[in-house]
Amino acid sequence: MKIAFTIGKYLFVFVIVLLSLGPFLWMLMASFKTNAEILSNSLAWPSHFRFSNYTMAFKIAPLSRFYINSVIVGIAGTVLNLLILGMSAYVLARFQFRGKKLLTVLLSLSLLIPGAAMLQPLYLTVNTLGLYDKLIGLIIVYAGFGLPVSLYILSSYFLTIPKEMEESAYLDGAGFMRTFFKIILPISRPGFGTAAVLQFLLCWNEFQFAIILTTGNQSRTLPLALYYFKSQFASDYGVMFAATMIVIAPSIIVYILMQRQVVSGLAAGAVKG
């Protein structure tokens, strides 16, 4: 029984790792191939490791400019989103007040509105507010897109924190603000870490609205670059996958760094006992 369980466990892990790593390694390999090599035998090793796809990617698309923009949008969009939603998620998780149910349902709507139905209205809003073709416009919009996910993650995490923690803080004479910023925020690191990863990825990968809400290269982000290599009559998969690697590399690094935050819940556990 125990052996079957162990074998099952390893098999499961193996399959999951294979399914996750396989496509990634395949793409890494493809990023060194020519278009013809990819389209002829996708399993074969590249004839030789050419970096021309990578240099091409930088040459054809304004990658470096887009990079800077994406970093700004990614960081600012994440910070704004977490700050705003950390506050409301805390209140929604902890306090009872009239209209709470209605507000929760209303905010849940943001999870459900089809993206296609938002294209034109958001263009109107952003344009009217004078935020069209500005990074700040993208930052606000992305902070809004991440609203439901961050709200759910953070309030769910706040619910795991025992109420006694705050009560003892209040007894010690700490005010509302002080309790939130000095006691609650520090022990919620894992929750914030997870929400931050997802919010950052959203900002980093979003394409459709980025192209609708910007016009000039000074305010465009990385995902747009991928489409420079895919058009109706000339798709260069090799360069496209190279560009994809360039785009995802920072995400992977950010994730590995954030991971420490995400799992350092050990500290939180210690406080809890």
């Binding site: 278009n35 009217t128 069209y132 895919k230 009559f233």
Partner: protein
């Protein structure tokens, strides 16, 4: 907690007011210059396509400020026409840069371009110069968002001659010239001469011969056709269009009708049946669902003997990242059986300027792009067939791409002409092929049923 309630209510009310002001502003075309303000303070937006860093700094101060016009283009990156677009803009700037400043917005990917223009059209915010491809012209005409060229053309008969009556007529509705075509699509098919030789065949004169050629190619161990049904089913539909277009008077008329509504015709059903056979027996294993890149690669890597496509592909045959070296020597070009050739004019450019000043400036830009100079650049830099006979390939180009000369000759000799499906049907029909071909080939629907479905999809356009 009444407070939050009030705040929520107040904010919703605020949003409604905002919405009201937004729609009011959107509905009034003449009063929406606000969109231009945000990008104009950054000069780098305007010169992004010409891409020279020095241009950004030097063009800032001019004695009389040039008129700014906005132009969106999807011809960037690896797009087949990216080079000609950049060259046209560069030469226009060199010539008229102090009068007109073209603010180029790059939209990588054709479909993103269409989406964005539809959003802009729905908001009454269209750019000054618009490429009207794939139904965008219909939207602009219906919404009265563009200015016809009639006045400009009558003032400048020279330009009208450079475009030619046929090209002008192709984009005229109710006497109004809504767009100026920038290129002619003359499409036959390319074939691999080596494979044809080994199979002992010549380009077919009739569709029956075409089919028996396929059989012979297959017998000789080759895959006959590079077809694909993904994306807009381009290479497959060129053949479908040709079968219909060369089938006689009714079929030819059908393929020359803008926005056909009834696909349930004997010619269409017969053609769908033939194409079904080709997809089942005479093409690559991945044709169902494949994209253009797959079909093009099959042909270039000598894995299929025939690909239907236009002359802009000729450059690829000598591009060693796409085809083996020397491949261009092996390629021949032919008209479709029945001496048929797709011959249609692109929709080209529309004038979306909202003030007299921007309209004039947009007209100047369009006139340059579609006049002799623009056509010449398009031919030299993109192997694009010009709309005017006055533009002929240079000797240098002829030497570099002998196949281009051949393709123009084949085009001139062809007798039966018709449009491609992409140029005549509604965009939602173009989008439906990729779903319908698998139905046909996997036997879920008969040719008759597919034809009926096409009619239903076309009827969704009101």
């Amino acid at each position: 907690m009444n407070k939050t309630f009030f705040k929520t209510g107040g904010a919703i009310a605020g949003a409604v007011v905002l919405l009201a002001s937004v729609t009011a502003c959107g509905s009034n075309n003449s009063s929406s210059p606000n969109s231009g303000v945000s990008s104009s303070d950054n000069p780098s937006a305007s010169t992004s396509a010409s891409a020279s860093a020095s241009a950004q700094a030097s063009e800032q101060i001019a004695p009389k400020a040039p008129v700014k016009i906005k132009y969106l283009t999807y011809r960037v990156g690896t797009h087949a026409s990216a080079k000609l677009e950049a060259e046209q803009i560069k030469q226009f700037n060199a010539k008229y840069g102090n009068e007109v400043e073209v603010q180029v917005e790059e939209i990588p990917s054709d479909s993103a371009y269409e989406d964005k223009l539809k959003i802009l059209a729905a908001s009454g915010d269209i750019p000054d110069v618009v490429m009207g491809k794939n139904g965008i012209n219909d939207i602009l005409i219906k919404g009265n968002l563009a200015t016809p060229f009639n006045d400009y053309l009558s003032q400048d008969p020279e330009w009208a001659k450079e475009i030619g009556d046929e090209a002008l007529a192709a984009n005229t509705r109710d006497g109004k010239v809504w767009s100026i075509s920038d290129q002619k699509q003359t499409v036959g098919y390319f074939y691999n001469k080596e494979m044809f030789e080994k199979a002992g065949i010549k380009p077919a004169q009739t569709w029956d011969e075409f089919m028996s050629n396929n059989e012979k190619l297959k017998g000789a161990g080759f895959v006959p056709l590079a077809l694909m049904t993904g994306e807009n089913a381009w290479t497959t539909n060129l053949i479908l269009a040709s079968i219909v277009g060369t089938s006689g008077e009714a079929g030819n008329k059908f393929m020359n009708t803008l926005h056909p509504s009834d696909f349930n015709t004997p010619e269409m059903i017969d053609a769908l049946g033939k194409v079904k056979t080709m997809l089942e027996k005479y093409t690559t294993k991945d044709a169902i669902g494949a994209g253009y890149a797959n079909a093009a690669n099959s042909f270039c890597q000598a894995k299929a003997a025939i690909i239907a496509n236009g002359p802009w592909m000729i450059g690829d045959f000598s591009d060693t990242t796409k085809c083996a070296a020397g491949f261009d020597q092996k390629v021949g070009i032919a008209a479709f059986p029945g001496n048929g050739m797709i011959s249609s004019y692109e929709v080209g450019y529309m004038n979306g300027g909202k003030t007299q000043e921007t309209r004039d400036a947009a007209e100047k830009f369009i006139r340059f792009k579609t006049g002799l100079e623009g056509q010449r650049i398009a031919l030299e830099f993109g192997n694009v067939v010009p709309v005017s006979d006055q533009v002929q390939p240079s000797d240098e180009l002829k030497q570099k791409y002998p196949l281009l000369v051949e393709s123009i000759e084949v085009g001139n000799q062809s007798q039966v002409h018709y449009g491609s499906f992409d140029s005549i049907v509604y965009p939602n029909v173009t989008d439906a092929w990729k779903l319908l071909y698998p139905e046909l080939v996997f036997g879920k629907s008969t040719a008759e049923e597919i034809a009926k479905k096409l009619s239903e999809i076309a009827a969704k356009n009101k």
